[in-house]
């Protein structure tokens, strides 16, 4: 477990990282980047799997099942649409492969 101030430090540093990483993004990439960050929080799948893996009652199993299903949708869907969008970006100097 990550507790107390260690948790707080991690939270702060990660927040600054996110801010810096996309700080100078051009407008043309706003939509793909939003979609990309949408994909990245699909990591919730990992948590949903853990929650479901430790479920012991039927109700917990059911909610866990829903969670894993939704999370998988988030991760897979996020990836597919982001990839489709980014696939199309090309420059006039380097025409399509």
């Amino acid at each position: 477990m990550i507790e107390g101030f260690t948790a707080l430090y991690i939270f702060m540093l990660a927040a600054f990282t996110g801010y810096e990483v996309i700080g100078r993004v051009p407008v043309i990439l706003h939509t793909p980047l939003m979609s990309g960050s949408n994909f990245v929080h699909g990591i919730v799948l990992v948590g949903a799997m853990v929650a479901m893996g430790h479920a012991s009652t039927d109700l917990e199993r059911f909610i866990g099942f829903l969670g894993v299903m939704l999370a998988a949708g988030n991760a897979v869907g996020g990836y597919v649409v982001t990839e489709r969008m980014l696939e199309m970006f090309k420059s006039s100097k380097e025409p399509a492969k």
């Binding site: 991690i10 829903l66 939704l70 999370a71 869907g77 996020g78």
Partner: protein
């Protein structure tokens, strides 16, 4: 166990590097692949967590959720991207809420602060879930109207406060489950719906972006609860990145986020300036328009969502290539909120094969309009409305616009005489140097191509 931690660590690094690469057009494509690799590594590692059960059901859930998302994601048209992002994002929020629900049902928390984080994550995740679903329904056209009634904000606040109270009960009672837990989730979900209902379609991108940031935060909180480093890092990083993106979008539209969330734009104001626009609209036919552009030296094209709806982007690009063969310089001017989201129009043009170095931002292109012979406006409206500069009474006053009215001639391709998405009359259409070319975007572009070929 050390291998699992190592995989999570690798995933976190891959996510950050992937996002970094995604913020530049040259490396963007690789960025999503890096992030995808991180996701696969983390997911596989999780199967080897100790003391896990229900593997069969887990796989089934992944197959159903992932399969459905794969299918819809591959099939959806580029114009419908924003609502797909909304729905996938909502699913993430729902998953975070589901994790919290399972943990709260168990009620075994290492400390009070973890219990609090679980409840907070559940609240944020639930709001993001139901709110995103409403956003999806609105953009998909399943829900046409904005629902406004007197005292709406107050009622929303009461619902939110009630959700908070039940959340506090959960925290103070150490989460015994049962009735407070049920009420807490029901109220949080209801609040997400009620908060999104009054928001107009034009503001939806900002809202989706906000829910995107909220989901990330919920994921990070549940990550702390589960002691899962990959979730904490990924959730927090994209949480702050998403917050920044939301601010950038709101700034591009010149509307503070609080204004977007609490004003019900597009449903209330904006009918005032209909008559005082003055003057008449002057028509032009396709052959005259084609001649004007073929003998111009510089043409700036302003595409709007109307072009995308008419699926005209391929034809428009074909027309541009013909113009370029005649020695005309062609540039595309993109307003930050063209399309349904910042950058959405760029995606649509990219789909048609327009190279991204022909596409210019508002700041880059505005100084060039006075030197352009023709500004061709296709399916755009509010983003070229000069009242945003001149009329302080207009609801869009102060919004940065493309100064297409400063071009020598302006040609507006438009389907009918009605007002745009926001319902505001456009003064540009009545200017002396403006000509209207009525018709469906795709048909008009087709005619223009024919006419230019005959020259």
């Amino acid at each position: 166990m050390i291998l699992i931690q190592l995989s999570y660590f690798a995933a976190a690094v891959l996510f950050i590097l992937g996002l970094k690469r995604m913020s530049s057009p040259k490396t963007a494509r690789g960025g999503i692949v890096w992030a995808g690799a991180g996701m696969v590594v983390a997911t596989i590692a999780t199967f080897f967590m100790p003391d896990m059960h229900n593997y069969g059901l887990m796989l089934l859930a992944i197959l159903i959720g992932g399969g459905a998302a794969w299918y819809t994601g591959k099939k959806v048209a580029m114009t419908d991207m924003p609502q797909m992002i909304a729905i996938y994002n909502g699913m993430g929020g729902g998953a975070a809420a589901a994790i919290a629900a399972v943990e709260l049902l168990k009620g075994t928390f290492a400390s009070q602060s973890f219990l609090t984080l679980a409840v907070l994550g559940a609240l944020i995740g639930s709001v993001a879930f139901s709110g995103s679903m409403v956003a999806f329904a609105k953009l998909q056209g399943l829900m046409k109207k904005s629902f406004l009634f007197p005292g709406q904000q107050k009622i929303n606040m009461v619902v939110f406060a009630a959700a908070l109270v039940f959340g506090l009960i959960l925290i103070s009672s150490g989460s015994t489950g049962g009735f407070p837990l049920f009420m807490f989730f029901a109220l949080a979900l209801a609040f997400g719906i009620m908060m999104t209902l009054p928001i107009g379609g034009a503001d939806m991108p900002v809202v989706i972006s906000l829910y995107n940031a909220l989901t990330s935060l919920a994921v990070a909180f549940e990550g702390f609860v589960l002691g899962n480093a990959a979730m904490i890092i990924a959730g927090t990083v994209v949480g702050s990145a998403g917050t920044l993106l939301t601010q950038l979008m709101a700034r591009a539209m010149n509307r503070p986020i609080s204004n977007v969330l609490f004003s019900g734009f597009g449903a209330t104001g904006g009918e005032a300036s209909a008559e005082d626009a003055g003057g008449t609209m002057k028509e032009i036919d396709a052959s005259d328009a084609a001649v004007m552009m073929a003998y111009a030296s510089k043409v700036i094209i302003v595409p709007g969502y109307g072009m995308a709806v008419a699926q005209a982007q391929h034809k428009v690009w074909e027309f541009c290539k013909l113009l370029e063969e005649k020695g005309v310089t062609v540039k595309f001017a993109i307003h930050p909120v063209a399309g349904r989201m910042p950058g959405h129009m760029n995606v649509l043009l990219a789909e048609a094969g327009v190279p991204y170095d022909k596409i210019y931002d508002l700041e880059e292109i505005n100084a060039e309009f006075p030197t352009a012979d023709v500004a061709l406006i296709i399916g755009a409206n509010d983003v070229v409305n000069p009242v945003a500069r001149t009329d302080p009474n207009s609801p869009i006053y102060g919004m940065p616009i493309l100064d297409s009215d400063k071009a020598k001639d302006v040609i507006v391709v438009k389907r009918g005489r009605g007002t745009g998405f926001s319902g505001i009359e456009n003064a540009l259409f009545y200017l002396d140097n403006t000509r209207m070319l009525y018709g469906d975007g795709q048909e008009v572009a087709g005619k223009l191509i024919q006419e230019v070929k005959q020259l």
